[in-house]
């Protein structure tokens, strides 16, 4: 399953799975990760920002990827480097630490 989210300029969390809107003239990037091998994983969240290690969403409020292990972020501004990390969470409120960080330069 593929999750898609449009990155808003306000940087708040809560992007919805399956969102298909795309901003004109803006780009997207698709991320993937290995699943967490634990029976209590309820889903994943994606965090992003324009500086390494500094994400626009507070921890716990990342973009919702559901149980998918891929995520497409849309509406990225050209000429900008975006940094991404992912977390796993369970249904009792636990959220993992961040994954390794990756970046993408948007032309």
């Amino acid at each position: 399953m593929l999750s898609v989210a449009l990155l808003g300029s306000c940087g708040g969390g809560g992007g919805s799975s399956g969102q298909s809107a795309a901003a004109g003239g803006k780009s997207s990037v698709t991320l993937a990760w290995d699943p967490v091998a634990a029976p209590n994983v309820a889903g994943y969240r994606v965090y992003y920002g324009t500086s390494t290690g500094i994400y626009s969403q507070p921890q716990g409020s990342g973009l919702e990827a559901g149980t998918a292990t891929t995520f497409t972020a849309m509406g990225l501004n050209g000429g900008t480097r975006y940094y991404f990390a992912a977390t796993a969470y369970d249904n009792t409120g636990n959220e993992s630490d961040y994954s390794n960080e990756v970046f993408k330069d948007i032309p």
Partner: protein, 499 residues
């Protein structure tokens, strides 16, 4: 914000990713549907900190099935569905009641009639073939004590092999009388299991919930049950949720292999659990329980404010004691008063203890306003404390000055306090939240001083955390306190941009 996962976290992820994750230590029965899917629907409004569900093995078939309706059944009933009997004692002597397995469905208010069943022959199961008691489908049952309430007898090593299973909704209630001369149940026989049962004083002053008073009571297990609402008044009664081996000092009571796992004990005016044998007793596991709001109703009486867990002796000495993975907070006196026997106290979170208050907010008297007290009686043994968070909001010490606190390390305690070698200093940032209503209350993340700074105790049985999450095996680093970092949840690996 973290830019990348730490070395410790990378190691944790590697190990956990390869671990076989299990929810419980005990084998699971595939025959009982509510065992595999039911869990426990705790009553505690703070249930986001609920203990882990533990599966137990129960009989999958029976040689006989009986029914008890305590409200409208008959003392002379056949104990059938159409002619239910009234008391547990009515079962004794019926087919299958000499070795089991037998299914018993119960509903209504079941009176003890003085005793539930006392020194009655032909009233027992056997290991693996227990008398398995459950709520009558669609109903609940309430065990109403009105006497000595014995299940078993006074003879050493009586064998009964009964399992009381309230199901996911804790559908069997043991009502504790508000009379300190009585108790909820005297479990005076071998191999009783109370599983997913609620034990309550209904906001009364209460008495002790489950007690043993006979010689050589073996293998009492209390698992996934909830003790609550025994804290009305300040009359000084010293009721406990559980009291192992009550008797006159130097009397006859003793036990072996007591298991108290993954229960909630809350709003208890007296103690949570008291271990206090009159003869030598061996084997205590108090693991994975939540204790909160304990010991505030006895402060003005003889017994003073009380601890969450007491280990004492009054003639005999307990041995083989393990107090692990418990989440203990809001305690008027100590988290653990370890006055007797050799005791291992590992990976507990003991927070906001020693408050030394009556429930009305006035100051109370306390004998041990420290996190873990050892005392100095002749029966005291070596108390080992490792990987514990021990912090008093009101500044009380983590330990007393007992010479029996011999082996303390890798604990976290308040600034300026002493809690053994390789200890760390508490600050509020050790945990994610100190707000009781927060879902992250007393949990830790990878940036905590408790993360990866414990000593590895896997080989000593510390294989799970409070929530039932597997701890690192091998030589991996251990977290301090009851909770694993992030609930043991690993971060996703190998995040990558898809070309």
């Amino acid at each position: 914000m973290q830019t990348s996962i730490s070395t410790v976290e990378k190691f944790r992820q590697t190990v956990l990713a390869s671990a076989t994750v299990i929810a419980a230590l005990l084998p699971m029965s595939s025959a009982i549907a509510d065992q595999t899917t039911g869990g426990v629907n705790w009553l505690d409004p703070l249930a986001y900190r609920k203990p882990a569900f533990v599966s137990i093995t129960v009989p999958s078939s029976a040689v006989a099935t009986y029914y008890i309706d305590g409200t409208s059944g008959s003392d002379g009933g056949a104990c059938s569905q159409t002619s239910p009997c009234k008391f547990f004692a009515n079962l004794c002597g019926k087919a299958g009641m000499t070795g089991g397995p037998v299914f018993v469905y119960i509903k209504g208010n079941i009176s003890s009639g003085g005793n539930y069943f006392y020194n009655i022959a032909n009233c027992y199961g056997s290991p693996g073939s227990e008398i398995y008691v459950r709520p009558w489908p669609g109903n609940t049952a309430n065990l109403v004590s009105n006497g000595n309430n014995v299940m078993g007898g006074d003879t050493p090593s009586q064998t009964h092999d009964w399992i009381f299973d309230g199901g996911p909704n804790l559908g069997i209630t043991i009502t504790v009388p508000n009379d300190n001369s009585k108790v909820g149940i005297r479990a005076n026989a071998n191999r009783f299991t109370f599983y997913r049962v609620q034990i309550t004083c209904n906001n009364g002053q209460g008495a002790t919930g489950i007690i043993t008073t006979a010689p050589a009571v073996a293998d009492l297990k209390i698992i996934n049950s909830e003790f609550y609402a025994c804290n009305s008044g300040t009359g000084g009664l010293q009721q406990s949720a559980v009291y192992m081996s009550s008797d006159a000092c130097n009397g006859v009571s003793s036990f072996s292999n007591f298991v108290f796992r993954n229960n909630i004990v809350r709003h208890m005016g007296g103690e949570g659990v008291e271990i206090n044998p009159r003869r030598d007793s061996a084997g205590v596991i108090i693991q994975g329980n939540a204790f909160h709001d304990i010991g505030y109703n006895t402060c003005n009486g003889t017994w003073n404010c009380r601890p969450a867990i007491t280990v004492d002796s009054c003639g005999g000495t307990p041995s083989g004691l393990q107090i692990n993975n418990n989440l203990i907070w809001d305690i008027s006196a100590s988290c653990v008063w370890a006055k007797a026997g050799d005791i291992a106290i590992y990976n507990n979170t003991c927070y906001d203890y020693g408050k030394q208050l009556n429930h009305d907010g006035t100051g109370g008297t306390v004998a041990q306003a420290v996190g873990i007290a050892a005392g100095n009686s002749g029966n005291a043994g070596n108390v080992t404390t490792k990987n514990n968070i021990i912090f008093s909001v009101v500044g009380k010490n983590p330990f007393d000055s007992s010479s029996f606190l011999t082996n303390a390390s890798n604990n976290i305690c308040g600034a300026g306090k002493s809690c053994g070698s390789s200890s760390a200093v508490w600050s509020n940032s050790v945990v994610l939240s100190i707000a009781e209503n927060d879902a992250n209350y007393l949990k830790i993340d990878g940036s905590s001083a408790a993360a990866g700074t414990g000593v590895n105790l896997f080989s000593l049985g510390m294989t799970l955390d409070y929530a039932g999450v597997p701890r690192l095996s091998g030589s991996g680093l251990f977290d301090i306190g009851a909770f694993l970092v992030n609930g043991g949840l690993s971060a996703p690996g190998n995040l990558r941009v898809v070309p």
